[in-house]
Subunit: 365 residues, 2 copies
Amino acid sequence: MSIGDFSVAGRLADTGEGITGDELQLAARNHGMPLEGLRYDVTPPGLHYVLVHYDIPATAAGDWRLTVGGRVEEPLSFGLTELRAMGRRTIRVTLECAGNGRATLQPRPISQPWLSEAVGTAEWTGVLLADLLRLAGLREDAVDVVFTGADHGVERGVEQDYQRGLSVAEAIESGTIVAWEMNGAPLPPQHGYPLRLVVPGWYGMASVKWLRSIEVIDHEFDGYQNKVAYVLRKTPDDPGRPVTRIEPRALLIPPGFPDFMSRHRFVAAGTVPLFGRAWSGWAPIERVEVSTDAGVNWHEAKLDAPSNDELAWRAFAYDWEATPGEHVLTVRAYDTSGREQPIEAEWNRGGFSNNTAQRITVLVT
Amino acid sequence: MSIGDFSVAGRLADTGEGITGDELQLAARNHGMPLEGLRYDVTPPGLHYVLVHYDIPATAAGDWRLTVGGRVEEPLSFGLTELRAMGRRTIRVTLECAGNGRATLQPRPISQPWLSEAVGTAEWTGVLLADLLRLAGLREDAVDVVFTGADHGVERGVEQDYQRGLSVAEAIESGTIVAWEMNGAPLPPQHGYPLRLVVPGWYGMASVKWLRSIEVIDHEFDGYQNKVAYVLRKTPDDPGRPVTRIEPRALLIPPGFPDFMSRHRFVAAGTVPLFGRAWSGWAPIERVEVSTDAGVNWHEAKLDAPSNDELAWRAFAYDWEATPGEHVLTVRAYDTSGREQPIEAEWNRGGFSNNTAQRITVLVT
């Protein structure tokens, strides 16, 4: 027997096939942000979504080294203390898993089975990646920057350290930081202790955790996570398009109170204040619409002031005059780049970037 | 339509029925501790398991009141500041969800679908419940103490605030505390901010979160969570036995590295240090046995020194001489009360107290 016997190709669920044991193993390890967590401007760390491809590695800050090498004038190596001396910048960032919404797709791609809660907003503190690259000095032939984490595992038969690449332009212009703090405290183990990348506006797969190496290369990075895993494909042999920035999405805090098992919601008739958050990795949110009749009529929500960090989520509110009976709430976001959240997003084999509008069924009593 | 249409009786999965959408909704909200989290003596808050029956309530420490009333000489009411003035005690406690292991049962009870990771150990700081009861003065007819949280919802048609009862003797002798800190920081929202009960040795359902009321009553508490939900039953009309203290369990950190999707493990041949933790809510752990051949031969693991808090988990280690091929690791715990962890626990309809021994399949290369 070999690794390939236990690490197989991706597949789609059969019609009517329940969530598999493999999917459940991932759902039991990783977790979303319960949607009432939308009430916090900054998500408390244990409520922020977590996706770990392999295991959370055993790491220590004391002897941690981050190397910057490849197509640079001067290769560098930093301990935590040296890195902290390079500067200190705090940014508020909304991160979302690229697979958020996957388990609601038909047919369902078999992987981490997110519903709609794989999101969170934190204040990350670190040093600008651009400053590190400037210090090392990019050579003229620099094309991509490759980030390697300390987490090691296998995916579809390929043994690997978790690695992602960004173009030099994106690495510099995105405002990416190498962070050692989350919400003013050292990174929790599951969020990359002691050091991680945070790429504002991009789905979470770009923000490499347990970061130990930054390497500049003179060609396009063709690693597994860029070229095989996070790609939007309609068919297995579709070359596809890479998953990059976060598509616009709005989510409401489900109003009223739930049934434990079905999570169905119950609320008393009258004015029900609805509250939620909206975000996009492409541009600031400029409008959110709410429907309380399953999308027949739409009403503009009242937006809070935007955050100083323009790609962090933005709060919105809408007062619903709830009448007895069953109602379906739905909501959609628009950003200033002209992108609008669809009622139903296009399907793809990996179940990525699925920003289909949230639907909440509520019984008003 | 009424609440009862959406909040129905519990059921068992059909033969071969995959994890349902309802179960997935719970798995996406609640989370276990990835088993590599066993490496930490004290579990970082975001890695500690969380189970929330309804929603995490919106709470504020500033105006929080905890009342102590019912069959007492003098009803009391505390704000956080007054409560802190009552004393400060820190205890290390291993908490486990009563439903841990549920999703591995055949047939599978439909509820929160835990595999084996619904556990965590924290240092909780607060005041002894016994001191609060002494101050209020128990009347002679006091029988049970009822704890009410701020979380509100419906279960199997019963609308309720989350409530649990303990006998007066258990409330005093168990060393239960009313806690406002977890690992030296204010409680995270999902762990009961600003105030919760921590009942050492008992499954997590006893440790009421968002605690707002303690009421002493003159009869046995017959609330939903004590008499309907957390009961060990073989059949629906079995009166059953209440779920109480944590049964002994040992868990290993899965060695080597995983496949992303199957979580199958791979390790290189040679000496593989195995490490894990064992606990019991009944008595201290006195022995842990490891098998590397699916339970044919058992070897005594080396136990670390016990914790000062004797019901907190205890670390163990065993050096495995791993040879190429597929191997099944399994492990079991023994406590000083004479309880031993079974290879396969008895089935019950709620899927509670399932301490069936862990099995990890590893490919040695």
